[in-house]
Symmetry: C2
DNA sequence: ACCAAAAAGGAAAACGTTTTCCTATTTCTC
DNA sequence: GAGAAATAGGAAAACGTTTTCCTTTTTGGT
């Protein structure tokens, strides 16, 4: 057992209160005693027990981060951003995975609340509008309200609740721009859309963008050109194989994430479809793998690191306001800029220097 | 603020003790009161404050995992293994990154100790034998000793301390087998070794394996065939570019990790070196990227998920023993089996089905 | 029916802090 | 130099639990 404040007080010949005051830099302790106490602290290597302190002051300096899975590469940069910013502000970060289960997500929120985390960063899987989801959103809402408020902020997209902060990009616009790029720059006329599940908010937004781009460029929207997949590379791979079997024509593919795009790439390779000559491919997210595969993958760059850092920054900001006793600030949805990154899957021989590869 | 045990006791018309007994399933509470209390708990949504409980029973059910960086893909499967096993045993996991700084690592250990984590899983960067490292190892050692012991277990390789548990593979043997495979199966005669830093324990072991394989197959060990790199793809890329510039001959490359191997792959592509016809390449770790790049990368498969799960299992085991009041068990070094995975970078057209790709 | 033993359940101490409340001492002000 | 004001610093309450130590009630054996 490590040494307690009592022990330090005894050794320094002062009261517990004085030691506490020294630790916390409060007023009303003379230089003499201060030095004495500090010496004892140094030689005993004492460090205040944060459990006990947490109990007393109802603050744990812990932020919970709930994501779907660590293995989803999309999150790695986000996590780096979060943890760097957290560290700078004296917070520590607890990461948990939902594996896309909304039950798990609900459980985790409750769990972390019982653990007295100071705030929650959430990449939610809660979409749809059924009873369960509504109740869950209500619960989140309550956390966000006055009283001992635990602020929540969501990543990727604004959750379906008008009170919860979010940091995100404009997903509709990103999809729109990607497809427009394929049409205008690469001159595709027949573009497949490899989707994440439709019911998901992100899925819908990207679908809207895809559609709008076609319409504005006077291209027909063909339902059979849209394939609902499930995030994994294999689902993208299968989709292309199936379409090829049906001998359908296409000259461009827009994938909702890079992971599926990699599967698409593999399928094309096996089918001896030349990329980008026969078919141009756009991914989404610009995960590090995109620049590592061959041909390297054009994608929509999402500022993931910034997204994480910003989420944490906002949380700290809100926490400060709450701590100051004021009521929580109005909701904010922070919109970050995305950007199209051209690589070999849309432009021949467009090789980038490995030097700038962060991996 | 959520409802406290006192509130529950009041509402149920019983004492705090009784509520506590119900929560913890202790003896000596009549069915009647039990039901009453349970009802109140259900309707108030009460859940015991784990901070207070932690303070009382000196157990937080938290395990700290200290790794170098989340972005190092090697750890993702490990983390999955850890978190699954942790969850099954009622532990939650806190992840922190050292970014290869030993100071940071030391700080984190102290931090987590002050946070009263129940145990620590550590992918240490502490190697070498200077004063600082020795002091640090001493400190770890003390944690592991009797008293309120906090068990520590290291990943990847046994840390230089004879008392700390580890779960690892036989790194020397793995390197030996990889190089032997290049010599015997692929008939390479001139094998480069792209290394992680020599001073690192792992670097040394792999070097030994490389050397032994050459010797046992009567091939000369040429110092200029060994290049010390720094984990990143770019360092591997540069190494090959430089060697090519010097117009040196080689027909096989063994890389200490897949990340550098990917850089090597890129360099070869730019140099119009055909893989595997001109040069065969072996990576190490079998990170998911290995099966995603083209040509796909042969590698040494390290059972990462199992590694994480096993580390956690062992920790739980030790924790149980300690909790039972017995003195900590003898040190254990758990050795897992690695395996050579052949892909296109050593065998032409050796394509694997995407179906089994976990990504 | 009586007594011992077992079971039930409450009061209060303890965990390691922070902080309020108080008293004693020092420092000003005139 | 006297009184007020400011400063130092200790004792104790409080945070939300678990658990020990009791006292009271129930059970069971004869």
């Amino acid at each position: 057992m490590s040494v307690s404040i009592k022990e330090v007080a005894n050794r320094a010949g002062v009261s517990i209160s004085t030691v506490s005051r020294v630790i916390n830099g409060s007023k009303n302790v003379s230089p003499l005693l201060k030095v004495k106490v500090e010496r004892v602290i140094a030689e005993t290597n004492y460090s205040a027990n944060s459990i006990a302190r947490g109990l007393k002051i109802s603050k744990t300096n812990k932020i919970a981060v709930i994501i779907t899975a660590i293995s989803r590469t999309f999150f790695t940069d986000i996590l780096e951003g979060i943890s760097k910013e957290a560290e700078e502000n004296g917070y520590s970060v607890v990461i948990a995975e939902t594996h896309d289960s909304i039950e798990k997500e609900m459980y985790l929120v409750d769990y972390f609340v019982s653990q007295w985390v100071d705030g929650i960063i959430l990449a939610s899987s809660a979409y749809g509008n059924d009873m369960k989801v509504r109740r869950y959103l209500d619960r989140l809402d309550k956390l966000n309200k006055k009283g001992t408020r635990i602020p929540v902020i969501t990543l990727e997209y604004p959750i379906n609740n008008k009170n919860i902060d979010a940091v995100t990009i404009d997903n509709e616009k990103a999809a729109y721009e990607a497809v427009t790029y394929l049409i205008r720059q690469i001159h595709c006329r027949n573009i497949l859309h490899i989707c994440i599940p439709f019911e998901h908010y992100l899925g819908q937004k990207r679908m809207e963008g895809y559609r709008r781009a076609l319409e504005e460029n006077a291209l027909p929207f063909l339902p059979e050109n849209v394939v609902e997949c499930d995030y994994t590379s294999y689902s993208g791979y299968k989709a292309i194989k199936k379409i090829a079997e049906e001998r359908r024509d296409f000259d461009g593919i827009f994938c909702d994430n890079d992971q599926m795009a990699v599967g698409v790439l593999k399928a094309c390779e096996e089918l001896h479809i030349r990329i980008p000559e026969d078919v141009a491919i756009m991914g989404n997210d610009d995960v590090f793998v995109a620049s590592v595969v061959s041909p390297s993958l054009s994608s929509i760059h999402v500022p993931k690191y910034e997204m994480g850092a910003l989420a944490m920054k906002r949380l700290v900001e809100v926490l400060k306001i709450i701590e100051a006793g004021q009521k929580g600030p109005k909701r904010k949805v922070l919109l970050l800029e995305h950007e199209i990154v051209e690589r070999e899957s849309t432009v021949k021989n467009n090789r980038e220097s490995l030097q700038y590869l962060s991996w």
